[in-house]
Amino acid sequence: MRRRLDWPGKKGEGTLAEYILQMKDIDKTFPGATVLNHAGLDVRQGEIMGLIGENGAGKSTLLKILTGLYTRTSGTILFKGREVTYASIEESADDGIAFMHQELNIFPNMTVTENIFLDRKDYVGKFGMIQKKRMEEDARKVLETLGVEIDVNRMGSELSIHEQQMVEIAKAMSMNAELIIMDEPTAALPENEVEIFFQFIRKLNRRGITIIYVSHKMVEIEAICDRVTILRNGTVVDVVNVGETTVEQMVNKMVGRQLDEYYVHTPTKNDGVLLRVSDFNGENFEQVSFELMKSEVLGIYGLAGSGTLELAETLFGYRKPTRGGVTLNGQAIKKTDIPNMVKNGIAYVPLNRKKDGFVRDMSVFENISMVGCGSYRKGIFVDWAKNRDICDKYMEALSIKAVSRDTHVNLLSGGNQQKVVLSKWLSIHPKVLILNEPTRGVDVGAKAEIYNLIDRLVKTEELGILLISSEAPEVLGMTDRVMIMHKGRICATLKTEGLQQERLLKLASGGKEEQSEERQEIT
């Protein structure tokens, strides 16, 4: 059927034909930030190539450039030995590159057949009628060759996540995909289905399909990949053969050892418990108990899907807890909705800034005064003049770069938008500030300013900060203590001082704590 090249046994430089994909010297700059700097990705025909890197290292940007979602600033891409530039994901799909996104694109109200052949034109018969029978037969054939037993007439909504993935892959196969990109494919998969999924990937691979596998989970990378490309800060640090390199070595290369001066936080004196969370349960997390001290930065480190988002949103009152409660300064908070949490002095800088953080078509002033404007009044009316002064104060203190306070927030850069969100909350002098990935999508300069601000706040404002992050250096550089979350549970709470990055990553990806050995040594 398809031309299948022999698996290259020898390591090192291969001939051109061996490589199905070569990306060379790829540069990508967004206004104000360089995301990729001479990055590349060489994938051999028939291999499973792992792609790892921290958040913001440029993995997804690189893949989006490959599939035509982004345009590159410079560099060349060779696919099957031919130089290519795809203008859209459809173009790259036609050429044989399938992209399986983290969020599966299964339409719940369509059948399996329709999901597989959704956007195909070859099933349109006379008078523009869809040739349903032929389509169903072909769907059955594709699933059969994959060895998957799914009724082609089932609706998308009836499928399990595993089955949805199978349908996605069937879709890719029906388009004669030769290269499948899988972005965190196991993120939503239950643990016991991961191995089944892996067997399936191996089967695909034996059929000659080349796979690029993106994951945060080192265990999986080790189990499934032949080689791994390691990205850091938009550059390829190394390409290693799995089996010749340990996970620790890979993680070390991925994380690097730079940017120490970035993280300005120095430990503070903890004077008393500020926030006590006890036996807190909710959607996607359970049995969470911890204490946040006054003037402390407490980190919560967890990978995507570990439950940190749900925990934060429940603490802030956006979601309802199923059990457990929150005590602030010794007082139990009874009503857990956002207005009451805000009244009690709990502030939250959300993960999805564009959607939840600010109102893009309103001015900097309106966004900053959105929470606190009611506290300054003249009789029954709001004292807007006073509010404007306060807005100016925070714009200056956080050096928000905007033409004026009446500029719409959507015209600002990511960093300045985040500073607007921060100002909005700082203006009400919160007692607890929950920051969810506060530096995501923020340029390097603003990142440093936000770190500075965090440190300054806990030292001058007498508040406690919960810093939720999936960036290990950020957690290690900016917190006093860190809680590590895995699968909805806090699996460890550690002092940040002297904590090793490798240990953090290992714990967060479900690795066993080596402490037991240490303990044995002690006893």
């Binding site: 009244k343 953080g357 109102v359 309103m362 009316f381 909005k424």
Partner: protein
């Protein structure tokens, strides 16, 4: 000076006011060539009385639309409450009590709309289409489809037909009062900012501690209440009520708001804009009547104006995209 005008034109609301005022002036000149009556105070009194009810509805509709919702039930609720008040008065219930009961019922209908939309998370169009149809049906129940004429207490008619200084109808003063109060609430309190935030981005508004659900229920309740008030006014003005009356008022009120710059997506527009929208539509219709333009053409012209107002509202984003 040039810079000032350019700056004013870059402001969405100011641009709206200027365009509408321009249209109004052109109409005043153009239609007065057709008939001198057009620009007289008497014609103003006529227009103001005729459009007072829709004007009232447009005021509260502006708020609902600012939060990104829509209420189609207003015309039916207005008619239903007029019938209810009239029936009560014919049964010799004292006028103030009859009015209060009708207004309470109207507010309750609005609350029902709001509850289904904000709490049960149903689509505003579907919910209010349902209440619109249901209460229109109930209007026909009162007199088996016939009109209601004559009330025992004739003093009630004074409000709908009286004027201040012989020029401004009392009902239109009510419209102005409602607009001034709402405008003040929008500008001087955090109310305006809150509802615009909800209309622009309900999620971010909720994450800022704004009580999105309460606002939505409150605004639909208020919209019901105002529709009831419009029903009282129309009952007083027409000294009776017909079951088909107010059919299409919802779209006329929405048209006024859209013309005045309220965005159908929510978050954009002002009370002043809606107010000018009422005046422009009022004078346009009056002008078309005076010029003996047939009712069929009137609809076509009005439709064209709605489309033009949408196009005018979209011009800005198109230009911005090009700049980028």
């Amino acid at each position: 000076m040039k810079v000032k005008i350019k700056k004013a034109f870059s402001n969405y609301n100011l641009r709206r006011y200027m365009i509408l005022t321009g249209i109004l002036i052109l109409m005043l000149i153009g239609f007065s060539l057709e008939s001198k009556v057009y620009v007289t105070p008497a014609n103003f009194t006529n227009i103001a009385a005729k459009f007072a009810e829709i004007g009232l509805i447009a005021a509260s509709m502006s708020l609902v639309m600012l939060t990104g919702d829509i209420d189609l039930s207003v015309g039916s609720v207005m008619c239903f409450c007029a019938f209810l008040a009239g029936t009560l008065m014919q049964s010799y219930v004292p006028v103030p009590l009859a009015v209060l009961i009708s207004l309470a019922v109207a507010a309750a209908i609005g609350f029902l709309n709001g509850f289904m939309i904000a709490v049960m998370k149903m689509q505003p169009v579907i919910v209010t289409l349902g209440t619109m149809t249901a209460f229109r049906g109930l209007c026909y129940v009162f007199k088996q489809g016939g009109p209601m004429r004559g009330l025992p207490d004739e003093s009630f008619f004074r409000f709908g037909n009286g004027t201040l200084f012989g020029v401004i109808p009392y009902s239109f003063i009510l419209v102005i009062v409602v607009f001034v109060i709402l405008s003040a609430a929008m500008k001087k309190t955090r109310f305006g900012m809150d509802i615009r935030a909800i209309g622009n981005n309900a999620s971010a508004a909720a994450f800022s501690g704004i009580k999105v659900r309460k606002y939505k229920i409150g605004l639909f309740t208020f919209n019901g209440f105002i529709s009831g008030l419009a029903g009282i006014v129309i009952l007083s003005r027409m000294q009776g009520i017909e079951a088909a009356l107010g059919d299409g008022y919802e779209f006329e009120a929405i048209t006024m708001c859209l013309l005045g710059g309220i965005s159908i997506n929510g978050g954009k527009g002002t009370m002043l804009g809606s107010f000018i929208g009422i005046i422009v539509i009022g004078y346009l219709k009056s002008g078309m009547n005076i010029s003996h333009i047939s009712a069929y053409y009137q609809s076509a012209i009005l439709g064209a104006i709605i489309l033009l107002s949408v196009i005018a509202g979209n011009l800005e984003p198109v230009r911005k995209k090009k700049e980028k």
